[in-house]
Protein backbone atom coordinates (compact mmCIF):
# COMPACT_ATOMS: atom_id res chain seq x y z
CA UNK A 1 0.00 0.00 0.00
CA UNK A 2 1.43 3.38 -0.92
CA UNK A 3 2.08 5.94 1.78
CA UNK A 4 -0.50 8.49 0.56
CA UNK A 5 -3.30 5.89 0.57
CA UNK A 6 -2.14 4.60 3.92
CA UNK A 7 -2.30 7.91 5.70
CA UNK A 8 -5.87 8.73 4.64
CA UNK A 9 -7.10 5.64 6.43
CA UNK A 10 -6.00 7.13 9.76
CA UNK A 11 -8.99 9.48 9.82
CA UNK A 12 -11.05 7.07 11.94
CA UNK A 13 -8.31 6.41 14.48
CA UNK A 14 -7.58 10.13 14.64
CA UNK A 15 -11.23 10.98 15.32
CA UNK A 16 -11.26 8.41 18.13
CA UNK A 17 -8.02 9.79 19.64
CA UNK A 18 -6.53 6.36 19.05
CA UNK A 19 -3.23 7.62 17.64
CA UNK A 20 -0.12 8.18 19.70
CA UNK A 21 0.90 11.78 20.19
CA UNK A 22 3.48 11.65 17.40
CA UNK A 23 1.08 10.03 14.93
CA UNK A 24 -1.57 12.53 15.92
CA UNK A 25 0.72 15.44 15.15
CA UNK A 26 1.66 13.88 11.81
CA UNK A 27 -1.92 13.37 10.82
CA UNK A 28 -2.91 16.87 11.97
CA UNK A 29 -0.32 18.17 9.51
CA UNK A 30 -1.77 15.95 6.81
CA UNK A 31 -5.26 17.33 7.44
CA UNK A 32 -4.05 20.85 6.81
CA UNK A 33 -3.02 19.75 3.31
CA UNK A 34 -5.70 17.18 2.46
CA UNK A 35 -9.19 18.56 2.10
CA UNK A 36 -10.82 15.13 1.82
CA UNK A 37 -9.37 14.04 5.15
CA UNK A 38 -10.22 17.38 6.79
CA UNK A 39 -13.87 16.95 5.83
CA UNK A 40 -13.90 13.33 6.87
CA UNK A 41 -12.27 14.05 10.22
CA UNK A 42 -14.80 16.81 10.93
CA UNK A 43 -17.67 14.39 10.32
CA UNK A 44 -16.11 11.46 12.12
CA UNK A 45 -15.19 13.60 15.14
CA UNK A 46 -18.75 14.83 15.33
CA UNK A 47 -19.84 11.19 15.14
CA UNK A 48 -17.40 10.06 17.83
CA UNK A 49 -18.68 12.80 20.14
CA UNK A 50 -22.14 11.30 19.89
CA UNK A 51 -20.83 8.17 21.58
CA UNK A 52 -20.52 10.20 24.77
CA UNK A 53 -24.31 10.40 25.01
CA UNK A 54 -24.11 7.06 26.77
CA UNK A 55 -21.94 8.58 29.50
CA UNK A 56 -24.09 11.46 30.79
CA UNK A 57 -23.36 12.14 34.47
CA UNK A 58 -23.85 15.08 36.78
CA UNK A 59 -20.58 16.13 38.47
CA UNK A 60 -20.21 17.20 42.10
CA UNK A 61 -21.59 20.72 42.50
CA UNK A 62 -18.28 22.07 43.83
CA UNK A 63 -16.87 21.71 40.33
CA UNK A 64 -19.01 24.57 39.05
CA UNK A 65 -17.59 27.06 41.54
CA UNK A 66 -14.07 25.82 40.89
CA UNK A 67 -14.35 26.17 37.11
CA UNK A 68 -16.03 29.57 37.22
CA UNK A 69 -13.42 30.84 39.70
CA UNK A 70 -10.57 29.63 37.51
CA UNK A 71 -12.13 31.11 34.40
CA UNK A 72 -12.50 34.50 36.09
CA UNK A 73 -8.72 34.86 36.17
CA UNK A 74 -7.81 33.01 32.98
CA UNK A 75 -6.90 35.05 29.91
CA UNK A 76 -8.41 34.02 26.62
CA UNK A 77 -6.49 33.52 23.41
CA UNK A 78 -7.64 35.80 20.64
CA UNK A 79 -8.84 34.23 17.44
CA UNK A 80 -9.01 37.10 14.99
CA UNK A 81 -11.71 35.32 13.00
CA UNK A 82 -14.54 37.30 11.47
CA UNK A 83 -17.79 36.86 13.35
CA UNK A 84 -20.56 35.31 11.37
CA UNK A 85 -23.76 37.23 10.80
CA UNK A 86 -27.01 36.37 12.53
CA UNK A 87 -27.53 32.67 12.90
CA UNK A 88 -29.95 31.13 10.40
CA UNK A 89 -32.22 29.72 13.09
CA UNK A 90 -32.52 33.07 14.78
CA UNK A 91 -33.61 34.66 11.54
CA UNK A 92 -36.18 31.94 11.02
CA UNK A 93 -37.68 32.46 14.49
CA UNK A 94 -37.84 36.18 14.07
CA UNK A 95 -39.58 35.76 10.77
CA UNK A 96 -42.01 33.26 12.19
CA UNK A 97 -42.85 35.31 15.26
CA UNK A 98 -43.33 38.47 13.23
CA UNK A 99 -45.59 36.67 10.77
CA UNK A 100 -47.61 35.03 13.53
CA UNK A 101 -48.16 38.37 15.23
CA UNK A 102 -49.19 39.97 11.97
CA UNK A 103 -51.60 37.16 11.12
CA UNK A 104 -53.25 37.39 14.53
CA UNK A 105 -55.02 34.11 14.15
CA UNK A 106 -53.34 31.00 12.93
CA UNK A 107 -55.28 27.94 11.90
CA UNK A 108 -55.00 24.89 14.12
CA UNK A 109 -54.62 21.53 12.49
CA UNK A 110 -56.07 18.26 13.71
CA UNK A 111 -52.76 16.96 14.91
CA UNK A 112 -53.01 13.75 16.84
CA UNK A 113 -50.21 13.52 19.30
CA UNK A 114 -49.56 10.95 21.94
CA UNK A 115 -47.60 11.83 25.00
CA UNK A 116 -45.96 9.08 26.90
CA UNK A 117 -45.60 10.20 30.46
CA UNK A 118 -42.95 8.56 32.54
CA UNK A 119 -42.92 10.79 35.54
CA UNK A 120 -46.50 10.40 36.63
CA UNK A 121 -48.21 7.30 37.89
CA UNK A 122 -51.78 7.96 36.91
CA UNK A 123 -54.67 5.96 35.53
CA UNK A 124 -54.77 2.24 35.07
CA UNK A 125 -51.23 0.96 35.24
CA UNK A 126 -51.83 -2.00 32.95
CA UNK A 127 -53.55 0.11 30.32
CA UNK A 128 -50.77 2.62 30.50
CA UNK A 129 -48.13 -0.05 30.12
CA UNK A 130 -49.95 -1.43 27.08
CA UNK A 131 -50.14 2.02 25.53
CA UNK A 132 -46.48 2.54 26.26
CA UNK A 133 -45.71 -0.65 24.38
CA UNK A 134 -47.78 0.42 21.36
CA UNK A 135 -46.18 3.84 21.27
CA UNK A 136 -42.79 2.34 21.86
CA UNK A 137 -43.33 -0.03 18.94
CA UNK A 138 -44.00 2.97 16.72
CA UNK A 139 -41.02 4.83 18.12
CA UNK A 140 -38.83 1.80 17.48
CA UNK A 141 -40.21 1.35 13.98
CA UNK A 142 -39.44 4.95 13.07
CA UNK A 143 -35.97 4.82 14.59
CA UNK A 144 -35.20 1.58 12.81
CA UNK A 145 -36.57 2.72 9.43
CA UNK A 146 -34.01 2.75 6.66
CA UNK A 147 -34.98 6.24 5.59
CA UNK A 148 -35.22 7.78 9.06
CA UNK A 149 -34.08 11.39 9.22
CA UNK A 150 -33.00 12.73 12.56
CA UNK A 151 -32.86 16.36 13.57
CA UNK A 152 -31.82 17.58 16.99
CA UNK A 153 -31.75 20.90 18.79
CA UNK A 154 -30.21 21.65 22.15
CA UNK A 155 -32.49 23.38 24.59
CA UNK A 156 -30.88 26.34 26.40
CA UNK A 157 -30.46 25.37 30.03
CA UNK A 158 -30.14 21.68 29.20
CA UNK A 159 -31.72 18.80 27.35
CA UNK A 160 -32.58 18.18 23.77
CA UNK A 161 -35.48 17.96 21.40
CA UNK A 162 -35.06 15.45 18.62
CA UNK A 163 -37.35 14.69 15.73
CA UNK A 164 -37.14 11.43 13.82
CA UNK A 165 -39.13 11.18 10.63
CA UNK A 166 -39.53 8.25 8.27
CA UNK A 167 -41.09 9.25 4.94
CA UNK A 168 -41.67 5.59 4.01
CA UNK A 169 -43.65 4.96 7.21
CA UNK A 170 -45.22 8.42 7.03
CA UNK A 171 -44.59 8.59 10.73
CA UNK A 172 -42.57 10.77 13.01
CA UNK A 173 -41.61 10.88 16.64
CA UNK A 174 -40.39 13.65 18.89
CA UNK A 175 -38.18 12.84 21.82
CA UNK A 176 -37.47 15.33 24.53
CA UNK A 177 -34.98 14.55 27.20
CA UNK A 178 -33.85 16.24 30.37
CA UNK A 179 -35.39 19.61 29.64
CA UNK A 180 -35.07 22.29 32.33
CA UNK A 181 -37.88 22.02 34.90
CA UNK A 182 -40.80 24.19 33.75
CA UNK A 183 -41.79 27.04 36.09
CA UNK A 184 -44.83 26.55 38.33
CA UNK A 185 -48.03 26.49 36.27
CA UNK A 186 -46.22 25.98 32.96
CA UNK A 187 -45.81 23.03 30.65
CA UNK A 188 -43.85 22.37 27.48
CA UNK A 189 -45.78 22.55 24.24
CA UNK A 190 -44.66 21.50 20.79
CA UNK A 191 -45.49 23.32 17.57
CA UNK A 192 -45.23 22.22 14.00
CA UNK A 193 -44.42 25.28 11.96
CA UNK A 194 -45.05 25.64 8.28
CA UNK A 195 -44.02 28.82 6.59
CA UNK A 196 -44.04 30.67 9.92
CA UNK A 197 -47.47 29.37 10.99
CA UNK A 198 -47.42 27.31 14.19
CA UNK A 199 -49.80 24.42 14.84
CA UNK A 200 -49.94 22.74 18.21
CA UNK A 201 -48.35 19.31 18.16
CA UNK A 202 -49.10 18.46 21.76
CA UNK A 203 -48.70 19.57 25.34
CA UNK A 204 -46.69 17.81 27.98
CA UNK A 205 -48.00 17.34 31.50
CA UNK A 206 -47.23 19.96 34.15
CA UNK A 207 -43.67 19.54 35.34
CA UNK A 208 -42.84 16.93 32.70
CA UNK A 209 -39.29 17.18 31.38
CA UNK A 210 -38.83 14.01 29.39
CA UNK A 211 -41.25 12.55 26.93
CA UNK A 212 -41.88 10.90 23.62
CA UNK A 213 -44.51 12.13 21.20
CA UNK A 214 -45.75 10.26 18.19
CA UNK A 215 -46.72 12.54 15.34
CA UNK A 216 -49.36 11.12 13.04
CA UNK A 217 -48.91 13.81 10.44
CA UNK A 218 -45.83 15.84 9.89
CA UNK A 219 -47.14 17.15 6.59
CA UNK A 220 -45.12 19.95 5.13
CA UNK A 221 -44.02 21.50 8.41
CA UNK A 222 -40.53 22.92 8.13
CA UNK A 223 -39.75 23.39 11.81
CA UNK A 224 -40.70 21.90 15.15
CA UNK A 225 -40.73 24.50 17.92
CA UNK A 226 -40.84 24.24 21.71
CA UNK A 227 -42.42 26.79 24.04
CA UNK A 228 -43.47 27.03 27.68
CA UNK A 229 -47.21 27.57 28.01
CA UNK A 230 -49.76 27.55 30.79
CA UNK A 231 -50.56 23.98 31.88
CA UNK A 232 -52.97 22.45 29.36
CA UNK A 233 -51.47 24.32 26.46
CA UNK A 234 -52.20 27.43 24.42
CA UNK A 235 -53.97 27.74 21.05
CA UNK A 236 -51.06 29.83 19.86
CA UNK A 237 -47.60 30.18 21.29
CA UNK A 238 -47.33 32.93 23.86
CA UNK A 239 -43.58 33.25 23.55
CA UNK A 240 -40.74 32.99 21.10
CA UNK A 241 -39.76 29.33 20.88
CA UNK A 242 -36.96 28.38 23.23
CA UNK A 243 -35.77 25.73 20.81
CA UNK A 244 -36.43 24.82 17.21
CA UNK A 245 -35.67 21.75 15.16
CA UNK A 246 -35.45 22.31 11.40
CA UNK A 247 -37.28 19.46 9.67
CA UNK A 248 -36.31 20.11 6.07
Amino acid sequence: MSQPTEIHTLAGAYALDALTEIERAGFARHISECEACATEVAELSETASRLSAAAWEVPPSRMRDAVLAEVSHTRQVTGGKVERAVHGDVRRWRRWTAAAVAAGVVALGGMATVWVVQEQRVGDARQQAQQLRTDQARVNAVLAARDVRLRTADVPGGGKVTVAISPSLDDGVVLMSDLPAPPEGKAYQLWLIRESSPTSAGVMAAGQRTGTAVLDTVGSADTLGLTLEPVGGSPLPTMTPIAGVPLA
Binding site: L16, A112, Q118, Q136, P156, L175
Partner: protein
Protein backbone atom coordinates in the same frame (compact mmCIF):
# COMPACT_ATOMS: atom_id res chain seq x y z
CA UNK B 1 -56.00 10.27 31.75
CA UNK B 2 -53.58 13.11 31.75
CA UNK B 3 -50.90 10.88 30.30
CA UNK B 4 -52.81 10.94 27.04
CA UNK B 5 -53.21 14.67 26.70
CA UNK B 6 -53.32 16.06 23.23
CA UNK B 7 -55.04 13.36 21.17
CA UNK B 8 -56.83 15.51 18.62
CA UNK B 9 -56.34 18.53 20.79
CA UNK B 10 -58.20 19.57 23.88
CA UNK B 11 -61.39 21.46 22.98
CA UNK B 12 -61.15 23.27 26.30
CA UNK B 13 -58.32 25.43 25.18
CA UNK B 14 -59.18 25.53 21.53
CA UNK B 15 -62.23 27.61 22.22
CA UNK B 16 -60.21 30.27 23.92
CA UNK B 17 -59.68 33.53 22.08
CA UNK B 18 -56.52 33.39 20.07
CA UNK B 19 -53.72 35.83 19.35
CA UNK B 20 -51.94 35.95 22.66
CA UNK B 21 -48.52 36.27 21.17
CA UNK B 22 -46.05 38.07 23.34
CA UNK B 23 -43.59 40.60 21.95
CA UNK B 24 -40.50 39.10 20.38
CA UNK B 25 -38.19 37.87 23.11
CA UNK B 26 -34.50 37.51 22.78
CA UNK B 27 -33.72 34.70 20.31
CA UNK B 28 -33.05 31.16 21.53
CA UNK B 29 -29.45 30.54 22.42
CA UNK B 30 -27.87 27.13 21.86
CA UNK B 31 -24.33 25.93 22.54
CA UNK B 32 -23.00 27.20 19.19
CA UNK B 33 -24.11 30.75 19.84
CA UNK B 34 -23.06 30.56 23.50
CA UNK B 35 -19.58 29.49 22.48
CA UNK B 36 -19.33 32.42 20.07
CA UNK B 37 -20.26 34.72 22.94
CA UNK B 38 -17.70 33.02 25.17
CA UNK B 39 -15.08 33.73 22.51
CA UNK B 40 -15.89 37.43 22.98
CA UNK B 41 -15.17 37.14 26.70
CA UNK B 42 -18.76 36.82 27.90
CA UNK B 43 -18.55 35.03 31.25
CA UNK B 44 -22.32 34.76 31.60
CA UNK B 45 -22.43 32.90 28.31
CA UNK B 46 -19.73 30.63 29.68
CA UNK B 47 -21.82 29.90 32.76
CA UNK B 48 -24.82 29.08 30.56
CA UNK B 49 -22.66 26.86 28.35
CA UNK B 50 -21.24 25.15 31.42
CA UNK B 51 -24.70 24.36 32.76
CA UNK B 52 -25.86 23.07 29.39
CA UNK B 53 -22.96 20.79 28.72
CA UNK B 54 -21.25 19.77 31.95
CA UNK B 55 -22.97 16.37 32.39
CA UNK B 56 -21.67 15.37 28.96
CA UNK B 57 -18.16 16.60 29.78
CA UNK B 58 -17.96 15.01 33.20
CA UNK B 59 -19.73 11.85 32.06
CA UNK B 60 -17.26 11.33 29.23
CA UNK B 61 -14.24 11.94 31.48
CA UNK B 62 -15.71 9.53 34.00
CA UNK B 63 -16.29 6.92 31.31
CA UNK B 64 -12.71 7.01 30.12
CA UNK B 65 -11.01 7.47 33.48
CA UNK B 66 -13.44 5.59 35.81
CA UNK B 67 -12.00 7.36 38.83
CA UNK B 68 -14.34 10.21 39.92
CA UNK B 69 -11.57 12.42 41.30
CA UNK B 70 -9.51 12.17 38.11
CA UNK B 71 -12.60 12.68 36.00
CA UNK B 72 -13.40 15.84 37.93
CA UNK B 73 -9.89 17.17 37.38
CA UNK B 74 -9.92 16.43 33.68
CA UNK B 75 -13.41 17.85 33.18
CA UNK B 76 -12.34 21.01 34.99
CA UNK B 77 -9.21 21.38 32.87
CA UNK B 78 -11.17 20.79 29.69
CA UNK B 79 -13.78 23.40 30.58
CA UNK B 80 -11.16 26.00 31.38
CA UNK B 81 -9.54 25.19 28.04
CA UNK B 82 -12.91 25.78 26.39
CA UNK B 83 -13.00 29.26 27.92
CA UNK B 84 -9.39 29.97 27.03
CA UNK B 85 -9.48 28.80 23.42
CA UNK B 86 -13.12 29.54 22.49
CA UNK B 87 -11.95 31.86 19.71
CA UNK B 88 -10.56 28.81 17.90
CA UNK B 89 -13.97 27.20 17.60
CA UNK B 90 -14.88 27.01 13.92
CA UNK B 91 -18.57 26.22 13.34
CA UNK B 92 -17.74 25.09 9.80
CA UNK B 93 -15.94 22.09 11.30
CA UNK B 94 -18.72 20.91 13.59
CA UNK B 95 -20.96 21.72 16.52
CA UNK B 96 -19.89 23.48 19.70
CA UNK B 97 -20.93 20.43 21.69
CA UNK B 98 -18.65 18.19 19.66
CA UNK B 99 -15.80 20.70 19.93
CA UNK B 100 -16.05 20.73 23.72
CA UNK B 101 -16.32 16.94 23.89
CA UNK B 102 -13.32 16.51 21.59
CA UNK B 103 -11.22 18.64 23.95
CA UNK B 104 -12.52 16.61 26.89
CA UNK B 105 -11.90 13.25 25.24
CA UNK B 106 -8.37 14.10 24.21
CA UNK B 107 -7.49 15.22 27.72
CA UNK B 108 -9.09 12.16 29.27
CA UNK B 109 -7.26 9.83 26.89
CA UNK B 110 -3.94 11.57 27.49
CA UNK B 111 -4.47 11.24 31.22
CA UNK B 112 -5.44 7.60 31.14
CA UNK B 113 -2.45 6.69 28.99
CA UNK B 114 -0.08 8.60 31.21
CA UNK B 115 -1.47 7.30 34.45
CA UNK B 116 -2.37 3.71 33.97
CA UNK B 117 -0.19 0.69 33.57
CA UNK B 118 -1.17 -2.34 31.53
CA UNK B 119 -2.41 -4.66 34.25
CA UNK B 120 -4.50 -1.95 35.81
CA UNK B 121 -6.13 -1.17 32.50
CA UNK B 122 -7.01 -4.78 31.92
CA UNK B 123 -9.03 -4.83 35.11
CA UNK B 124 -10.58 -1.49 34.34
CA UNK B 125 -11.83 -2.64 30.98
CA UNK B 126 -13.12 -5.91 32.36
CA UNK B 127 -15.29 -3.89 34.72
CA UNK B 128 -16.55 -1.64 31.98
CA UNK B 129 -19.66 -2.30 30.00
CA UNK B 130 -20.49 -0.47 26.84
CA UNK B 131 -24.16 -1.22 26.87
CA UNK B 132 -26.63 -0.93 29.69
CA UNK B 133 -29.36 -3.53 29.44
CA UNK B 134 -32.75 -1.94 29.21
CA UNK B 135 -35.46 -4.53 29.47
CA UNK B 136 -38.04 -2.28 30.97
CA UNK B 137 -40.19 -0.47 28.46
CA UNK B 138 -40.48 2.62 30.64
CA UNK B 139 -36.74 2.83 30.99
CA UNK B 140 -36.50 2.44 27.27
CA UNK B 141 -38.55 5.53 26.55
CA UNK B 142 -36.87 7.45 29.35
CA UNK B 143 -33.42 6.94 27.86
CA UNK B 144 -32.50 9.95 25.83
CA UNK B 145 -33.00 9.64 22.12
CA UNK B 146 -29.30 10.08 21.63
CA UNK B 147 -28.59 7.10 23.85
CA UNK B 148 -31.17 5.04 22.00
CA UNK B 149 -29.74 6.06 18.65
CA UNK B 150 -26.18 5.36 19.68
CA UNK B 151 -27.13 1.94 21.02
CA UNK B 152 -29.12 1.08 17.93
CA UNK B 153 -26.42 2.28 15.56
CA UNK B 154 -23.65 0.47 17.44
CA UNK B 155 -25.68 -2.71 16.99
CA UNK B 156 -25.60 -2.10 13.25
CA UNK B 157 -21.80 -2.41 13.15
CA UNK B 158 -19.83 -5.59 12.70
CA UNK B 159 -18.41 -7.01 15.94
CA UNK B 160 -14.91 -5.95 14.96
CA UNK B 161 -15.97 -2.41 14.06
CA UNK B 162 -17.88 -2.05 17.31
CA UNK B 163 -15.13 -3.46 19.51
CA UNK B 164 -12.44 -1.37 17.83
CA UNK B 165 -14.45 1.82 18.22
CA UNK B 166 -15.60 1.27 21.79
CA UNK B 167 -12.18 0.19 23.04
CA UNK B 168 -10.68 3.35 21.57
CA UNK B 169 -13.40 5.82 22.50
CA UNK B 170 -14.65 4.60 25.87
CA UNK B 171 -11.41 3.10 27.15
CA UNK B 172 -8.77 5.27 25.55
CA UNK B 173 -6.74 2.55 23.83
CA UNK B 174 -4.53 3.41 20.87
CA UNK B 175 -5.24 1.53 17.67
CA UNK B 176 -2.07 -0.46 18.21
CA UNK B 177 -3.31 -1.59 21.61
CA UNK B 178 -6.70 -2.35 20.11
CA UNK B 179 -5.06 -4.47 17.39
CA UNK B 180 -3.18 -6.40 20.06
CA UNK B 181 -6.22 -6.89 22.26
CA UNK B 182 -8.35 -8.09 19.39
CA UNK B 183 -5.52 -10.10 17.89
CA UNK B 184 -6.07 -8.44 14.53
CA UNK B 185 -3.67 -6.91 12.01
CA UNK B 186 -2.95 -3.20 12.42
CA UNK B 187 -4.18 -2.07 8.97
CA UNK B 188 -7.42 -3.96 9.55
CA UNK B 189 -8.05 -2.14 12.83
CA UNK B 190 -7.35 1.24 11.23
CA UNK B 191 -9.76 0.42 8.46
CA UNK B 192 -12.47 -0.93 10.79
CA UNK B 193 -12.29 2.22 12.94
CA UNK B 194 -12.75 4.33 9.86
CA UNK B 195 -15.47 2.38 8.09
CA UNK B 196 -17.21 1.71 11.41
CA UNK B 197 -17.33 5.44 12.15
CA UNK B 198 -18.55 6.13 8.63
CA UNK B 199 -21.37 3.66 9.16
CA UNK B 200 -22.17 5.26 12.52
CA UNK B 201 -22.12 8.68 10.90
CA UNK B 202 -24.68 7.61 8.33
CA UNK B 203 -26.81 5.80 10.89
CA UNK B 204 -26.84 8.79 13.26
CA UNK B 205 -27.44 11.22 10.43
CA UNK B 206 -24.42 13.31 11.36
CA UNK B 207 -23.53 16.08 8.98
CA UNK B 208 -21.20 19.02 9.27
CA UNK B 209 -22.22 22.31 7.72
Amino acid sequence: MSARAGRGGDPGWREQPTARIAPVDSPPVGPDELLRQVARGDDQAFTALYDAIVPRVYGLARRVLRDPAQAEEVAQEALVEVWRTAARFDPAKGSATSWVLTITHRRAVDRVRAAQAGADRERRVAAASVETPYDDVVEEVTASLEQQQVRRCLKGLTDLQREAITLAYYDGYTYREVAEKLDTALPTIKTRMRDGLIRLRDCLGVSVA
